[in-house]
């Protein structure tokens, strides 16, 4: 479905040059969920942004359904690939109603039956028709993220890029959104790429994942392996340990992590 080959993303030139992503490759099967894990600055979000055209592809190739993407991306691309952003407080237009937010992609792509599609999209994410004419400030964080997911799904894409979809939400709301994403994937046969710093969230939603650090791929592994605690890489080990919570007698973490 999605093939990333030797992707490299560079921002700036000369002294200001930043190599955000260095030679990252992975492959995602149709219907699979693939995770990208790492700390901030590891380049995991940049990979997503490069896929959907929000960051430049300096070198390497991104193939969707076997075809290399064009820059700028065409309408076809956005019918296949859509993105859900981290912070639903920032990603929805504060002065647009839910109805307007959801009808915009339909208008851009010249879709008919707007009303029916919007109501259906709301139903799919577990919200009633009463939410249609609300503004984002009249919604809770979880409801906003549901709207953001509805907006991404309304064009019936095949791939959903999820950039930390639950990290701005409370734990109980996070569970609801994760269940929703799980359900939607099963029902619609979607392909996910999930970016998160939370190993447990990635292991829950994805079958395979890539651990990234400083723009490089550290290790590709499976959630099965994570669950059984098998990680060949010391960095992955330290991430697993950190996700278990605070321990008084823990060994010193990998030294180079410190600021």
């Amino acid at each position: 479905m999605l093939d990333i080959q030797n992707l490299q993303v560079v921002f700036g030139t000369g002294r200001l040059r930043v190599d955000a992503v260095k030679d990252v490759s992975f492959h995602v099967e149709p219907g699979a969920a693939y995770g990208l894990v790492g700390e901030s600055g590891s380049g995991k979000s940049t990979v997503l942004r490069a896929i959907c055209g929000l960051a430049p592809i300096t070198a390497g190739r991104v193939l969707v359904e076997g075809r290399a993407v064009t820059t700028p991306r065409g309408k076809d691309f956005y019918r296949t690939v859509q993105m859900v952003f981290q912070d639903p407080y920032a990603s929805l237009h504060p002065r647009h109603t839910v109805d307007r937010t959801l009808s915009e992609p339909l208008a851009i792509h010249g879709e008919k039956d707007q009303e029916a599609r919007i109501l259906q999209a709301l139903r799919e994410v577990g919200l009633g028709p009463s939410f249609r004419f609300r503004y984002p400030h009249q919604l809770s964080g979880g409801q906003r993220q549901r709207i953001a997911i509805a907006r991404a799904l309304i064009l019936r894409p095949k791939v959903l890029l999820l950039d930390e979809p639950t990290s701005a939400l409370d734990a109980s709301v996070q569970a609801e959104i994760l269940n929703l994403l799980d359900d939607l994937r099963r029902k619609m046969g979607l392909t996910y790429i999930l970016v998160s710093h939370d190993l447990a969230v990635v292991a829950h939603l994805c079958e395979r994942l890539l651990v990234m650090r400083h723009g490089e791929a550290v290790e590709e592994t499976t959630s099965e392996a994570l669950r059984s605690g098998v990680a060949s890489n010391a960095y992955t080990q330290s991430l697993i340990q950190a996700s278990q919570g605070f321990t008084r007698d823990a060994k010193e973490p990998v030294r180079s992590l410190a600021g």
Partner: protein, 278 residues
């Protein structure tokens, strides 16, 4: 436990707004000795407002009332502004969530620590500088002298938060309130910051109030945990007995987190019972 360091009885924080009165904290009571107390709750549960009210940092138009709000025998509600000023930052200090916003961007880190120290101790510049450097070393900065002269934008989030902790502890407070001190940091970095905080608190025998939304983290870090929901404490328990939590809200909070160990699908969600807020 002899005399408690902090005694809070029936603390209430109200905001009188145009649309009516919102009660953010509704009758919170607890006592704190020289121990680590965690306050856990989701957004809007009033956990941060509880921490702020203790320091008298409730933003206007908020109103704070309590039957008793005393720190080491001093009534914080009737104390003069002057007394409060000497307490704040001196004997009680607070670490905020994000070092990006809580450090002064136009002062070097060292200057800020020196300023905090001199505001509470009669000390010359040289002594204050030595204290600041010693403190930066205590929070495990690798090159204290270099960090001393750096501006906040020149350091990473983890270093900024350690600098913040250094600044808050340089006056040797009796009570430290940490409001989500690590939620702006990466997991691996936050473990290191917590380890440093833990060492310093234990070493100096301070009281600590650790406010967080992360139940698992709090229970592994603190001695005792208060669970807040809708402005009330719904459960109070020893951290090590967290597994035996009685209240459905606490149980729900624990269960709804995905874990690496087992694969539960779908994740149990929280059915909020309106009775919990009563």
């Amino acid at each position: 436990m002899t005399k408690p360091l902090l005694d809070v009885d029936d603390l209430r924080v109200r905001f009188h707004l145009r649309t009516g009165t919102v009660e953010a904290v509704r009758g919170v009571s607890f006592q704190l000795g020289r121990e680590r107390l965690g306050i856990v709750g989701e957004s809007g549960s009033g956990k941060s407002q509880t921490g702020r009210a203790i320091l008298g940092l409730t933003p206007p138009p908020g109103e704070v009332t309590a039957k008793r709000l005393a720190f080491d025998g001093i009534d914080l509600l009737t104390a003069s502004k002057r007394t409060l000023r000497t307490l704040r930052g001196g004997r009680i200090s607070m670490v905020m969530q994000d070092p990006k916003y809580s450090l002064n961007p136009v002062m070097t880190i060292g200057e800020q620590i020196v300023e905090a120290y001199q505001a509470h101790a009669k000390a010359g510049r040289r002594e204050a500088r030595d204290r600041a450097l010693a403190m930066l070393e205590a929070v495990k900065m690798r090159d204290p002298a270099r960090v001393f002269s750096l501006y906040p934008h020149e350091v990473s989030g983890g270093m900024g938060q350690r600098a913040m902790i250094a600044m808050m502890l340089v006056t040797d407070p009796d009570l430290l309130i940490a409001d989500e001190p690590t939620s702006a940091l990466d997991v691996t970095v936050s473990m290191e910051v917590l380890r440093i905080l833990d060492e310093l608190v234990t070493e100096r025998g301070m009281g600590l109030i650790f406010i967080s939304h992360d139940l698992k983290l709090v229970s592994s870090f603190c001695d005792r945990v208060l669970v807040m929901y809708a402005g009330r404490v719904v459960e109070q328990l020893e951290a090590k007995n967290l597994r035996e939590a009685q209240h459905p809200y606490t149980q729900g909070l624990m269960r709804c987190l995905p874990t690496l160990k087992d694969d539960v699908r779908p994740l149990p969600t929280l059915n909020r019972d309106p009775a919990w807020a009563q």
